[in-house]
Symmetry: C2
Subunit: 427 residues, 2 copies
């Protein structure tokens, strides 16, 4: 599906139209400023505090966290929270990720205690979530003194302020939602890796009023994340803070869980493509389908190797169909991982063009020109125009003709902008 917008306003209207909150939720956002203790800065740095608040205690919640061996303090805290009987929501900050600084765990306790007190909620019922610079300390006092204003900002209509509040260097807010049989799922995301050059974190918050029992909700979340967010890669980094969290207010009864799961999958698939498309400097979204393999895991390994191959990514950025690099990336992972592959039998496609077949490339002058045109037609520069221009992916298909399994993964090209952002940016 290709979505097109005339300008930033039209795109923002579309996102706002997707932002209706499910029943039983309020959200609020407040900006604040602070001085970090680790670095001298000329003026106070900006931070935003976002709150997702359930109107009532809910037992139906779950989260999938990063597997990184240096999990951030919010991840450590969140894993414990999963054992709680109920939750009331999550408090999120951007700018500092609260990872491996001293006193990070205590900061979470102090901040969440103050939040609960201000809301007159007994016990500790909140998750914490942070994204930003690793190793710096949260400005605990500044955050605590902003909580009353945060509570004043609560609204029960739109998640849009949170979609903007959790952004760091994201180009645009990301919201997807769906209505099913009178119920609703609404989800927001903050981008990953390249998209967050300094942050390298993906955060996803999914809200629903559809009743799903806790254990089932968690199984569904895990399955959906495996098939969506775990199939994107910007620069092969798994951050210390990656999190996908789901909350249900359990208000709308009677929706079949299979329908719920399908809908959640559809939203998350859109959202994870939004994340890839949001890369600063991203000019092409690359969609790789690997089929004809004996197990899905092999398809994922090959797909990930392709979308993480710097030489191929740079060539696609330059609209140069340098397909030797594609072959090289496939052969590299297949050789190292012992994935059965017969060079005589595989077929490669870019878009509708067959580029390799019967054991050899099909390249000639005419095809090279067509592929160059194909890549140019799929390039865009959202940084310049401020919204994602289209959803016109570069489609690569690898058919190993050696089995019935397949998988699709998403990544982005490698641009000067990526390096510039990541070489120079930290404040």
């Amino acid at each position: 599906m290709v979505e097109k917008y005339k300008n930033r306003e039209e795109y923002e209207e579309e996102v706002i139209s997707r932002s209706k909150l499910p029943k039983g939720f309020k959200v609020g956002v407040v900006p604040l400023t602070f001085f970090p203790i680790e670095k001298k800065v000329d003026k106070a740095l900006p931070m935003k505090l976002s709150l997702i608040l359930l109107d009532n205690d809910s037992e139906s919640f779950g989260s999938v966290f990063t597997k990184n061996s240096f999990p951030g303090h919010p991840v450590v805290h969140g894993k414990k929270m999963l054992d709680s009987e109920t939750t009331r929501g999550v408090l999120i900050n951007n700018k500092i990720s609260n990872v491996r600084c001293s006193g990070g765990a205590e900061s979470i306790d102090n901040i969440l205690s103050s939040l609960s007190e201000n809301l007159n909620i007994k016990g500790q019922k909140f998750f914490s979530s942070s994204t930003g610079i690793i190793g710096w300390k949260l400005p605990q006092e500044d955050i605590i003194s902003s909580i009353p204003k945060l509570i004043e900002s609560l609204n029960s209509n739109s998640i849009f302020p949170v979609a903007k509040g959790i952004m760091t260097t994201d180009n645009y807010p990301k919201v997807r939602s769906i209505e099913i049989q009178g119920g609703r799922i609404t989800a927001v995301a903050k981008g990953a890796g390249m998209i967050e050059p300094n942050m390298a974190t993906m955060l996803v918050f999914i809200l629903t009023d559809i009743a799903v029992e806790r254990k089932e909700l968690r199984s569904i979340l895990k399955r959906v994340v495996d098939k969506t967010f775990n199939r994107i890669s910007i620069d092969s980094d798994q951050s210390t803070s990656d999190t996908a969290m789901i909350f249900s207010s359990n208000i709308i009864q009677g929706v079949k869980t299979s329908l719920f799961e399908d809908s959640l999958y559809s939203i998350c698939l859109d959202l994870c493509q939004d994340v890839v498309r949001n890369g600063e400097g991203t000019a092409h979204v690359i969609q790789v389908t690997v089929k004809g393999v004996q197990c899905e895991d092999d398809a994922l390994k090959i797909g990930k190797a392709i979308i993480n191959a710097p030489l191929l990514k740079a060539a696609i950025y330059g609209n140069d169909p340098n397909l030797g690099r594609l072959l090289q990336a496939i052969g590299d992972v297949a050789g190292n991982e012992n994935i059965p592959l017969d060079p005589e039998c595989i077929t490669l496609y870019m878009g509708d063009y067959i580029i390799y077949d019967n054991g050899a490339f099909t390249l000639n002058e005419e095809l090279e020109l067509k592929l160059n045109r194909y890549l140019k037609d799929r390039s865009f520069n959202e940084t310049a125009i401020g919204f994602p221009e289209h959803r016109n992916n570069v489609e690569i298909v690898v058919d190993l003709q050696n089995g019935l399994e397949s998988a699709t993964v998403y990544g982005s090209d490698l641009s000067y902008e990526y390096v510039r952002e990541n070489a120079d940016y930290r404040s």
Copy 2:
């Protein structure tokens, strides 16, 4: 060891002084031009043909090839050649890598037959080696008609012409040699990946007059390559053509094989650092030592993950000690690969500075400034000056304090230049 040169001439003199051939070898190089059939070009493209020729048949030779599942035709041919009783050497071309084009195997047969005929050598006793664009065809006729001139160019003194002849976009020729008890090992390399943005191939040719029996020579080569060339990574790509080849003329008897192996290791370690340092756009060579692990393989996995982490590489390019990215890269691979790691116990160093200890970063304003200075002092721009300015690596040490094993790997930073070369370059 820091090697410094005043200018390009002084550096080239140093390389020439390393270029003395072992006894029993001749080398020759001839330039030629050709028109590719795959792409319209305004003027003929340049290619160089290099020959390494043993004066007599030798049984002592070996090669380590890429594990890529799409090996180039020279690799397929070379694997068969390993079973031959004897060899007389190798014919190498740059510009086109002879991978997965139709008729590539026949081209090798025709070209090598012509070479043998011109040299009056019975039977097929040569290896073939190619580097360059993947998927294009070798200009067979142009190569064959250049062979008489190639033979005219043979000399028995210096490998320097070959070191230059196998270059593609390499900045400078790479030669290392050593004399042992009247014998000699001389080796040349062509760079990898980033260093060869368009080619992504590493070729190494090692010549010696020290007598080593074939089976032992092959074991030694494998062990040395595992500890040297297999421990560098520019962009995690393993090309379709990577090759390290060794030939002995068996003239100098009586050198202990353990001494031979140590000397070969020393040469190859220098040469592989030359390859990393040769990157166009490389501003920092990154040397990562992982120690305190339970098995060497874990150390290699962590080390490779660090030198392949784009976010960290880009930060180092910018002289920005954004160490969260280092932690993230370590935690990512440890989490995914189940490498035992206790965040409370590890210690991280950059140069002599402790940057993480006792479970948390040691960052403060003063240390950040010192690290920024440390990175600046280790940055260079060989592209601008045309020779490798120094051997002053950025040294990162990861101590897991959980075992007795360790490993050191080498990589480079990620620069705008890398992307520019790889986005725009193909001719």
